[in-house]
């Protein structure tokens, strides 16, 4: 007891948790402001949220090349965390930009929406900067609980309810695995600190082959693989993505995925480096399975949100390839890929947000017939995002895939890279079909309901710039990603 108190007192360093502190304070402030505002007035909340994200970005950048540690080795604001924080903040920012008018159109101008996004972003940031399994778990829960609410936010829509409930039940289920895994690892190493686990394992090589260690590693990874939406823990993804409000889906496809990758990378590379041969063979198989299931199932989808859900599974598979490679190129490739994916996927969802009618019944392939000619800007934007998702140069998606596959080849996983390329070839089919419908089908409607809301348009423009910048001059960001890994 005495020791614990001493420890807690010694390592107080608010700089290490400042970004999430700022974000949470803003979140609470917005929550209170909402209560005192008339119902349905949410624009100010969204504006304050944007400011909150900008402030947090500035605060977080203080940690770049100036690592902050604190709280008895529970938290670290290092380059790795900073890079991921930027990705989360970007995802949250684009989401909030496209949300305001959307929520009003769908008839749910709920002020709590924005604080919840901020809180889940803060949770994601804890996952990236947590250096202790418990901190990471805490972050995961903050992230998830906010998302459960957001997914089921449209209270009178059955699909949204279903999404919230399914996400909650299965999420809780996977968290059980995660905790069990953490418990086993604690049993092995006597600590939950990631770096200490690594030290213990290198000091006791005999424990590496111990079934308890391996089982702990496996069970813990399941918790994160669930959030990443890797097969076979991906089943929730299509239903939840389809049912949840579109901006929430957009956020879910980028933020939590990146956060789970961050946690997985820190734990595997720092803590479980001794088990590398075990987890590479695990991830090798799952990466292939995930890519194949995601791409093959996406072919059959006619609902675009659902199609993008499967595509998100497939992209998780590509990113896993980088972790299998486990070298500097592959791992920094994941950081790059997550950023690139945030740009392209949120861009695509922003187009869906604008293109949908109330209720979003029309977000199908048929519903996009001739869209490209009637709405040229959105058509071109969607085409760019889809090309990037396909991995056609010179877009961000290509550069990302390039780094990841180059990493895999460097580590000698040439077959994995080939399977990855083959999968991207399959993925062309369903992405391309959207372009076919947009440009090669006669328009059924005049799309007059599409109004170009400022927020969503701004987020689309940001996404286009990002996709092209990362595609044409990826060098600079990639350099930063390289500085960010351990």
């Amino acid at each position: 007891m005495e020791n614990l108190v001493q420890l807690a007192m010694q390592n107080v360093n608010f700089a290490a948790i400042m970004p999430s502190l700022v974000l949470c304070c803003f979140g609470m402030a917005i929550l209170l402001i909402n209560v005192f505002m008339p119902r349905g007035k949410t624009t100010s909340a969204s504006l304050i949220s944007i400011i909150a994200l900008l402030v947090t970005a500035v605060v977080s950048l203080q940690g770049w090349n100036n690592p902050q540690f604190g709280f008895a080795g529970h938290v670290a604001l290092d380059n790795f965390a900073t890079f991921f924080n930027m990705t989360f903040l970007l995802a949250a920012g684009l989401t909030i930009l496209m949300s305001d008018d959307y929520l009003r159109r769908e008839g749910y101008p709920i002020g709590e929406y924005y604080p919840l996004i901020l809180f889940s972003t803060a949770g994601a940031m804890w996952m990236a900067s947590g250096t202790d399994l418990m901190t990471i778990f805490l972050g995961l829960e903050v992230l998830s609980i906010s998302l459960y609410i957001l997914a089921g936010m449209f209270r009178h829509q059955l699909q949204s309810n279903e999404a919230g409930l399914k996400y909650f039940l299965l999420g809780a289920f996977s968290t059980g695995f995660l905790l069990y895994g953490i418990a086993l690892l604690y049993g092995v190493a006597g600590t939950t600190n990631v770096a200490d686990i690594g030290l213990y394992l290198s000091a006791h090589p005999a424990m590496i082959g111990n079934p308890m260690t391996v089982a702990g590693m496996l069970l813990m990874s399941i918790g994160f693989l669930f959030k990443i939406a890797a097969a076979p823990f991906h089943m929730w993804t299509p239903d939840v993505y389809q049912g949840a409000p579109t901006p929430v889906t957009a956020f879910m496809s980028a933020g939590p995925k990146a956060a789970a990758f961050a946690a997985l990378m820190r734990i595997f590379i720092l803590g479980l480096a001794g088990l590398q041969s075990e987890w590479t063979s695990l991830l090798w198989g799952l990466a292939i399975l995930t890519m194949i299931i995601g791409n093959v199932t996406a072919i059959y989808q006619t609902n675009l949100k659902r199609m993008l859900a499967y595509s998100s599974i497939a992209h998780a598979g590509y990113a896993l390839v980088g972790l299998v490679a486990a070298n500097a190129v592959g791992v920094s490739g994941i950081l790059f890929y997550m950023l690139a994916y945030t740009f392209m996927n949120l861009g695509a969802f922003a187009v869906l947000v604008l293109a949908g009618k109330k209720g979003e019944e029309n977000l199908t392939l048929e519903g996009f017939s001739g869209f490209g000619f009637k709405r040229p800007f959105l058509g071109v934007a969607m085409t760019i995002f889809l090309l990037s998702l396909m991995g056609i140069p010179p877009t961000a998606g290509f550069a990302g895939k390039f780094y990841i596959f180059a990493g895999a080849i460097k580590s000698g996983y040439i077959w994995l890279a080939i399977i990855g390329v083959l999968n991207s070839a399959v993925s062309l089919y369903y992405y391309l079909r959207v372009i076919v419908y947009m440009y090669f089908k006669d328009p059924q409607e005049d799309y007059s309901w599409v109004s170009m809301h400022t927020g969503a348009v701004v987020s689309i423009v940001i996404a286009i710039v990002g996709v092209l910048y990362l595609g044409i001059i990826p060098g600079k960001i990639m350099e930063m990603a390289k500085l960010a890994i351990f």
């Binding site: 399914k166 496996l218 140069p393 990493g407």
Partner: protein, 657 residues
């Protein structure tokens, strides 16, 4: 010291054209302004290309790399947005921008009044940009950018008339088939990247690949596999067996597009790629043999199909496939410069032929429109006697036909003959390859003259109501025709072989690119066979004349003969002993059998087998998709069950490992 730093302007101008027309085209609205922007963009890059080309001619140093800025870097691997100017790429940019400018000009007239005029020019400029990136890229990834870009533009332009279902289908087919090839290209690239990486060289840069290729064992598995994969990529883009099926369908696009993309430039990308990596290909004799065989087979196969077609553009499409086969034959036997030579001359005469056919179609369409008829303006059986109505079109078309048929003095003769000579005499060739090419040459002469005779000679078979509305096309269409016709006439004179007293300046110009590999791996024409050079030349002239003669007999002298032959085929068994019919019968048997073979290949092989394979793969993927969808049943307990099962399987794998 010459300065090449402005080379980036060459792809830059079309890009600007694309952006301006793409973004503002709808607002501009005025066809003349849009057309002028598009045409000037490519013309400007033609001017820059000329400057670069002539600068390079006078330069001692023949290989120049211009780096714009860094693209990606991974460890020692450095990938730049960089350009490579050497004789090969210099030649290619001349062809692309030169022919491209003419076709842009032509499009101003041809596409007049079409809906989405700005869209057309935007795509066309984007295509030129991508094609220039493809040929100028100093590393394989920039080339890949162009490679994908041209594929995309080709797709967009084939599907230009998207309201027609067939156009949409053709576009899709082209894209899907091309993806198979692109996949091969990428796998080849990965294999090469990894194999060189094993030796500590991580690079995509062409010059570095060429420098370090010797690290890999010549003729070894790695080189063979990598080059075969590259070749698969080439067969997709350049429409060779087994991936040629998309090209004839691609004729659904506007005719100038067929001329530029599906005849003169994009489809030659595969040939260019092999030329660019000739050092690597020379190291893999097995791959070279495959290339030569596939090239020769495609040449004769496509030519035989061309015999049986009635759609004017379809004949030209199969002819293109066949001529591309010649180019690959040349690459396969190590006659790199001959292949590129044929690429150039083919660009001239085939572009001229396509544009000429476009002019005819334009006139027919116009006439039918005036007469309120809905006949097919592309069917040759409705034409005939157009020579008098459309003299300029006819003369240029005729010159190009002579060129493709291999009549001495015209461009096609020199290039095709050089290929045939190399096929015969090269250390990597053989007389069978020559024989196949030789027969295909005869077929080429026949079907091309059949086309000319059916279209321009004889009586006009057009519906009487439309007959008088057929007129020569306006100047904007005929000027490109005249320029291309002239090039088809004289374009080959730069490569007159030494045997005919020429200097073969073309080969000397390209020598710095190809010489090294040819010398290192002993690829040359065998001296012991040089006595055959003149006789072989005579043979190929002879078979061309025979082909023309047969066509003349059947379609001019005796226009009802083909019909009679078909009719007579029924009582063939009684006539076969009749001496009086021997000549006609012989011709009939030969021609008709070939025709039937052609039709068999077209209907019997193409459709069920190739499409069957394509559909089969699709069915497999769709089937498994259906199964996966079944598991995704929406029941939350089955989702949880899947998770548990997945975990159990994973743990089991670890336990029993």
């Amino acid at each position: 010291m010459h300065d090449y730093s402005l080379i980036w302007l060459i792809p830059f101008f079309p890009l600007v054209g694309f952006i301006v027309n793409g973004l503002l085209g709808k607002k501009i609205g005025n066809e003349k302004v849009i057309g002028a922007i598009g045409t000037l963009a490519i013309a400007a890059s033609f001017v820059v290309s000329c400057k670069m080309f002539f600068q390079l001619l006078g330069d001692v140093e023949k290989t120049h790399e211009v780096i714009l800025f860094s693209w990606m870097s991974v460890g020692q691997l450095q990938i730049d947005w960089g350009f490579l100017l050497d004789p090969l790429s210099a030649l290619m940019i001349m062809v692309v921008t030169g022919v491209g400018s003419l076709i842009h000009l032509y499009s101003n007239g041809y596409m007049h009044g079409e809906e989405g005029f700005y869209r057309y020019f935007a795509y066309l400029n984007l295509f030129c940009f991508s094609m220039l990136m493809l040929v100028l890229g100093n590393n394989a990834l920039v080339m890949f950018v162009g490679w994908e870009g041209v594929g995309l533009c080709s797709y967009l332009l084939i599907g230009y008339y998207f309201e027609k279902k067939s156009a949409g289908d053709a576009a899709k087919k082209a894209f899907v088939v091309n993806r198979v090839g692109d996949f091969g290209f990428l796998i080849g690239l990965f294999t090469l990247f990894w194999a060189l990486g094993e030796h500590g060289v991580w690079t995509f840069q062409f010059t570095k690949i060429a420098e370090n290729a010797h690290l890999l064992p010549a003729g070894g598995v790695v080189v063979t596999v990598a080059t075969l994969c590259f070749f698969l990529g080439a067969t997709g883009k350049s429409a060779q067996i087994p991936l040629y099926t998309w090209l004839p369908d691609a004729m659904e696009g506007p005719t100038p597009v067929s001329a530029l993309i599906h005849a003169a430039t994009m489809v030659t990308a595969g040939v260019y790629m092999i030329g660019r990596m000739n050092g690597l290909f020379s190291m893999a004799p097995d791959t070279m043999m495959v290339i030569a065989i596939v090239g020769a087979a495609t040449a004769i196969f496509a030519a035989s199909i061309g015999l049986a077609q009635n759609d004017i553009k379809r004949v030209l499409a199969y002819s293109t496939v066949s001529q591309l086969g010649y180019m690959f034959l040349a690459m396969g036997v190590g006659a790199f410069s001959a292949g590129i030579f044929h690429l150039m001359t083919h660009a001239f005469f085939k572009a001229c032929l396509f544009l000429g056919s476009g002019s005819v179609i334009h006139a027919m369409h116009h006439a039918y429109h005036k007469a309120h008829l809905h006949d097919d303006p592309q069917d040759m059986r409705n034409m005939g006697g157009l020579a008098k109505k459309m003299p300029i079109t006819f003369i240029t078309f005729f010159i190009s036909t002579l060129a493709i048929s291999g009549i001495p003095g015209l461009s096609g003769f020199f290039s095709k003959d050089e290929i045939l000579w190399w096929a015969f005499s090269s250390t990597r060739g053989g007389w069978i390859l020559w024989l196949i090419g030789f027969i295909a040459a005869g077929m080429t002469a026949f079907y091309m003259f059949r086309l000319v005779f059916m279209t321009f000679f004889g009586k006009q078979k057009t519906d009487a109501r439309a007959k008088d509305h057929v007129h020569e096309s306006p100047l904007v269409i005929t000027i490109p025709l005249m320029v291309l016709g002239l090039l088809a006439l004289v374009g080959g004179w730069v490569g007159i072989p030494a045997a005919l007293g020429g200097a073969n300046r073309f080969e000397h110009f390209l020598a710095p690119v190809f010489e090294h590999a040819q010398e290192t791996y002993g690829i040359h024409s065998q001296h012991s066979l040089h006595a055959f050079e003149f006789p072989l030349m005579g043979c190929s002239i002879g078979i061309a004349l025979v082909g023309i003669f047969l066509a003349w007999i059947m379609y001019v002298k005796n226009p009802e003969l083909p019909g009679r032959l078909v009719a007579r085929f029924r009582w063939l068994h009684t006539a076969i002993f009749n001496k009086w019919f021997v000549d006609e019968l012989y011709d009939g048997l030969f021609v008709n059998a070939t025709k039937r073979l052609g039709r068999y290949f077209w209907k019997g092989f193409d459709v069920p087998v190739i499409d069957g394979i394509v559909n089969g793969v699709g069915w497999l993927v769709q089937g498994s998709s259906r199964v996966l969808r079944f598991i995704q049943n929406g029941q939350i307990h089955s989702y949880a069950m899947t998770m548990v099962l997945g975990m159990v399987v994973i743990v089991a794998v670890y336990v029993f490992k």
